[in-house]
Amino acid sequence: MIEFKDVSKIYSNGVVGLDHVNLTIEQGEFVGIIGLSGAGKSTLLRSINRMHDITSGSLMVDGLEISKLKTKELRNFRRKIGMIFQSFNLVTRTTVIRNVLMAKVPDMTFWRVLLGVFKKEDKIEALENLDKVGILDKAYIRADQLSGGQQQRVALARTLTQNPQIILADEPVAALDPVTAKQVMNDFKRINQEMNISILINIHHVELALEYADRIIGIRAGKIVYDGPSKDVTEEVLNTIYEGKIPNEMEEA
């Protein structure tokens, strides 16, 4: 369970990232976070695993106060939280399986990390996770040989290998074509339903958000302006979130 209590974030240049945010997300929810660029979607997501520090308020994950964690505790905490990035963030020069195995690095001894020697059971786990996202046959190919959608699945397999309770996805399909984007969203949905992993997605494509997420959080200038089931999102709600500038997709739809 993730609990924001009166959380604010002000960047050193004075920009307000989060403005008195109150939010509770239960284990196993599929949440889509929408809003204009710069509204604070990334800040919200990244404050959960403290890739960004919050300025004030309380942020609890499974009863743990995140802002109070010390370096070592923070690292242990982050192991339970997966993160997916818009640009995949793989080591493209190396093979797919090695990228997936990176999820095991924090638990390994120094020499194993230095020499890149992984345990057999870890390799099997990595391969099983590649199988779950449907790219087992690509395991021994260099990551830069894959298409964008396949690379995002490698990142997904890497995250699954962490055995996370929560997956934070920061614009995971923004760099993908519409068809591939749907496939990746299907992967998220399946993982959410089969493994009861909470999924929080920042997303620009409103229709994808409404189709896949159970709950929508609309954010505008650091404030939460909508929080409710995706089926209750109306034109009016979107107008509030997007300050009257309805995204193109909605006009086309």
């Binding site: 890739m51 690292r75 080591v91 190396t94 990176m102 924090p106 990390v113």
Partner: protein
């Protein structure tokens, strides 16, 4: 450069729909003028004159002609100093390349956030790079005495500074996405570096180290001038005795060695890329 645009007004291009685009005037003429002025100045300062070359240029070929008939009977006494030279450059390149790694990491702004550490390490690398290798070798002979140890030290120091700079520049241009992902997974900075950045810079690092080794064979050959062992020792001696046919033989062997090492190293570096 705003001044430039005021003197030479940008060209106005008018589109058929009336929109105006301003294209700035080319900077090339000014740069060309500066270049010609610099060339003229350097000719004046160094006292370069074509007349002297015409007059005395032939002297160059007198010695060269004597070198062109190498004394093959001298070959036997070249092998040991040649091996010394190769040993110096190989060991020195190896040690220097390894020593460079921790310093390069400390000099990369994307890994180290402490500005003081960055500045200190970078200045240190620059200073080391500025000291001519011959001077390092000379200083080293006061510590280890005459011989290859001093040469090895000098080569190590040079390689350290050169590879160090190249490596930190490589680290700074690396894609930090994977590093960010490792931090998000809960890896410490050392583990994140090893698993996310090392695979990206390793081929480049090995390539630079090998390239440095190629050059070091040539540098090591003259280190003997200051008593640091190797080919330079006998080169200095034979030039002193004006035995140019032996000098020719030494240069021939050096040429062959350098060619061989460069060919091998080039082939390996091509594989690495």
């Amino acid at each position: 450069m705003e001044f430039y645009d005021k003197v030479w007004k940008p060209q106005k291009l008018v589109l058929s729909n009336g929109k105006v685009v301003e294209e700035k005037r080319s900077r090339t003429p000014v740069i060309l003028l500066l270049f010609i002025a610099a060339t003229y100045l350097s000719v004046r300062i160094t006292g370069f004159s074509f007349y002297t070359i015409m007059e005395r240029g032939s002297q160059f070929f007198v010695i060269l002609r004597q070198m062109l008939s190498p004394d093959f009977s001298y070959l036997g006494s070249i092998w040991k100093p040649l091996l010394d030279t190769i040993k110096m450059s190989l060991l020195g390149s190896f040690l220097g390349s390894i020593l460079a790694v921790p310093f390069a990491i400390l000099a990369s702004y994307n890994l180290v956030k402490n500005k003081v550490v960055l500045a200190v390490v970078r200045v240190f690398l620059s200073i080391v790079r500025t000291i001519p290798t011959l001077v390092t070798a000379l200083l080293a002979t006061y510590i280890w005495g005459l011989g290859t140890m001093a040469g090895t030290f000098a080569i190590t120091v040079f390689t350290f500074s050169y590879v160090g700079k190249q490596l930190y520049e490589m680290i700074e241009t690396v894609d930090m996405g994977a590093y960010e992902a490792m931090e998000a997974i809960g890896a410490g900075r050392a583990y994140a570096f090893l698993s996310a950045i090392l695979p990206q810079v390793l081929p480049g690092y090995l390539s630079v180290s090998l390239f440095c080794f190629e050059g070091n064979v040539r540098y090591a050959a003259i280190l003997g001038y200051v008593g640091a062992g190797g080919l330079g020792l006998i080169l200095n001696e034979k030039i002193g005795w004006r035995e140019y046919d032996s000098v020719g033989m030494i240069l021939l062997v050096l040429f062959g060695t350098v060619l061989l090492i460069e060919t091998i190293s080039h082939a390996i570096r091509k594989k690495l890329m």
